[in-house]
Assembly symmetry: C2
Homo-oligomer: 313 residues x 2
């Protein structure tokens, strides 16, 4: 993999371009909106690369930015690249049309990867001439800070393509996982929204405030989850490991699951009650500043985690 | 609060004793098993305090240990203390009998707090002479490393007792939240086991491996949750804050909630498949070493988080 095209230069496409460029790859960054591409996208990329250089994630911000070439002609962007990452608006028809074009314009051995987060690949990859090289590579926003990516085959994806995409993502410092069968929301959003659904249920029915529920995650659960997954946490919570945990607490876990109300029908009024204190603490007109603060915190956290004691010591 | 009694010297009670002692308080650590108390408990406390001193959580490990006095007579342990933290085995009858004794043996203004994690206070606090001073103070194991504690009133708890316990926990560096109505599992375990339930469903029905599901949490979700709660994450994911998130993604979230299977009937065979690779990576005979590694990592993570840039900067 040497030359990459990012198709779509919104938040996700812009972030992907930095992931590839900081690994030394040449990136064609395509968007149909020429003005936005020059006026907004490139300055945003340069500002972010400066923050990443401060955090040690990028060696040379200027050289990295120089590897990203904005481009408003799709054929020019993709005709000679090894890998395309599509990140356009979530619309099945739009993606279907675009994948048809990418299929025709790129080399047949070029991987076509989609950032789709809600639409399964089978809805827009089924009519390709070379379907074996197309798959879903779903990032977590923004991928230059959150390394997890979810790989999922489309209707015709070959094992070789899945293996190549997996290896490529690892070479970039991302953390790929494989979703073995198509499912709405893949794994990450399913786990996230399951927890958030029960949180909405508990808050909306008066068991605790949203602020307190947030504290439960920040000052409780995430202090383990930042370096141990849920099954690893359980494994270390019982002297007989995961099976000991299941034998001891499995019944309790199943009881709680029975009356969890992940699909509690919360209303916009419930959401307004959660919104109000958040907006007081993090005002809407300062969301951009708080997002930059969040991103610096994620970078610092990853640096801490990377330098922390490994389990084999 | 000057003098504390910890009743029950297992994992939880021992950890509580260190929380109180490192704040400079005198601790009577009661257990009916005199041999275990002297032979096992005190050496374990000293080893843990040495680790905490290395991590900067304790100034003087020896002086802290000296404030913890093992005690095998319940009346001696509780008669002159300001606060009792009960952490005996999860059995409603046992706790009911013990709370009757504590009610009779302690000063009427002494707070009686239970570490109960599954049994609601109303099942063992209802017959007290002074019920206004009894409540649930549920820790996350181990409380000397995980600061979140869940406060929940029992049938007769006064507002003043809840406020005093809340203030006391904050003074110790713990992070208290209030559970406003009794519910099985309180908030933390409900959120945890809801996510784990959906994880078991996805793994047991072949959508991904348990190892990959763990990666989703470690390298995805927890990189935000370690310093932003779920509602704060949503607030910063949309330019119009939490309401913008709900207006844009609420429908998708509700759709995923509809087919989440938190109560999927996973079997012990499913659990065995998860257990096997975990036990290869973290062998059962080395669980103790891995637990100490986990605890050092949590300490280092808390130090990192405490020193990180605050949002107001």
């Amino acid at each position: 993999m040497r030359k990459i095209a990012c198709v779509g230069a919104g938040n996700v496409g812009r972030s992907w371009a930095m992931v590839f460029a900081r690994a030394g790859l040449q990136v064609q960054l395509y968007d149909s909106d020429a003005t936005a591409l020059q006026r907004d996208t490139m300055p945003l990329i340069k500002a972010s690369l400066a923050d990443q250089a401060d955090a040690g994630l990028v060696d040379d911000a200027a050289a990295t930015a120089a590897r990203i070439v904005p481009c408003t002609d799709l054929e020019t962007a993709v005709r000679d690249v090894d890998y395309v990452q599509e990140s356009v608006y979530e619309d099945a028809g739009l993606k279907r049309e675009l994948f048809g074009q990418l299929d025709a314009l790129s080399r047949p051995d070029c991987i076509l990867a989609s950032s789709t987060s809600a639409i399964p690949g089978s809805e827009f990859m089924q009519a390709l001439q070379f379907p074996e090289r197309a798959l879903v590579v779903h990032p977590v926003n923004p991928p230059h800070l959150i390394p997890l990516v979810e790989l999922c085959k489309g209707p015709g994806t070959s094992d070789a393509t899945l293996a190549r995409a997996n290896e490529f993502m690892e070479s970039l410092g991302q953390v790929p996982i494989v979703v073995r069968k198509e499912i709405a929301g893949f794994i990450l959003n399913r786990l996230q929204f399951t927890l958030v659904g029960e949180l909405m249920h508990l808050v909306s029915t008066g068991f605790c405030s949203a602020e307190d529920a947030d504290k439960v995650v920040k000052h409780g659960l995430a202090l383990r989850w930042a370096f141990l997954g849920p099954t690893e946490v359980a494994h270390l919570n019982a002297s007989e490991g995961f099976l000991g945990f299941v034998d001891g607490l499995g019944d309790m876990m199943k009881r709680l699951a029975t009356d969890a109300k992940v699909d509690y029908p919360w209303t916009r009024g419930d959401a307004e009650q959660i919104h109000a204190p958040l907006a007081k603490h993090m005002p809407i007109e300062q969301i951009g500043e708080f997002q930059r603060w969040r991103d610096r915190r994620i970078m610092a956290l990853r640096e801490h985690l990377a330098g922390a004691e490994s389990p084999s010591k």
